[in-house]
């Protein structure tokens, strides 16, 4: 199980600041996004516009995520 940090609408949908998903690491960012969708189907409409951040940096879908990494789901931002 790995923890994914949640913010804004995904956090509201899940009801927690973290989502635990059943994924074996190392794994690509794309596979982690798919696993998030399998764990919480209510997030599926939003996921295509979300990015994954690993250790507080945006990553490409092909980036490999390791066990020691901090993972966050970043929905479209709206600061300013």
């Amino acid at each position: 199980m790995i923890a994914v940090e949640l913010f804004a609408q995904p956090r509201s949908i899940v009801g927690h600041e973290q989502l635990m998903i059943d994924v074996s690491l190392p794994q690509t960012a794309a596979e982690i996004l798919r696993a998030i969708g399998r764990a919480v189907p209510e997030l599926l409409p939003l996921l295509p516009s979300c990015r994954l951040a690993v250790n507080e940096r945006y990553v490409a879908e092909t980036t490999v995520v390791n066990l020691s990494d901090t993972i966050a789901l970043i929905p479209p931002v709206s600061g300013g």
């Binding site: 913010f7 804004a8 609408q9 951040a53 507080e56 940096r57 931002v77 300013g80």
Partner: protein, 160 residues
Amino acid sequence: VEVDAMAANGSSQRIDVTLVEGPLSISTIATSVADVDGDCGAHLLFFGTTRGTTHLTGAQKGSTQSTQSLTYEAYRPMAVAELQRIAEAACQRWTLTRVMLWHAIGPVEVGQASVAVFASSAHRAAVMEGVPWIMDEIKRSVPIWKQELAPDGSTQWIHR
């Protein structure tokens, strides 16, 4: 203004980025930028405030939407890192000698400030081109989100 503990000072003294709890104090920010570099002839301070009325576009063109307040949430360590990256990139691209960025976290009422950008340079063209680019980048990449509170009490996360 309560300055967030997450505020980061850049590796260069030219850059300062800060997350602030609650609305930004425009007078405090104006005071903090008043001590200008004597070798710079151009200084630009931009701030954005919560707008009470939005004129809708597209299929809803012609109608308006009212806002009572906005509440901002951030992925704080990454938001500070992204603000720092944007400030450093702007300094290099436009030869800015000073960039200061502030963003509010938490509730910001209509008319109160949520974001501020200050830049200094030798000549005006650099700040007048650099500051809009900084705002565009903030809206594109900094992990901060606004939740809108409507007059009827309903709330909505803004993800666009």
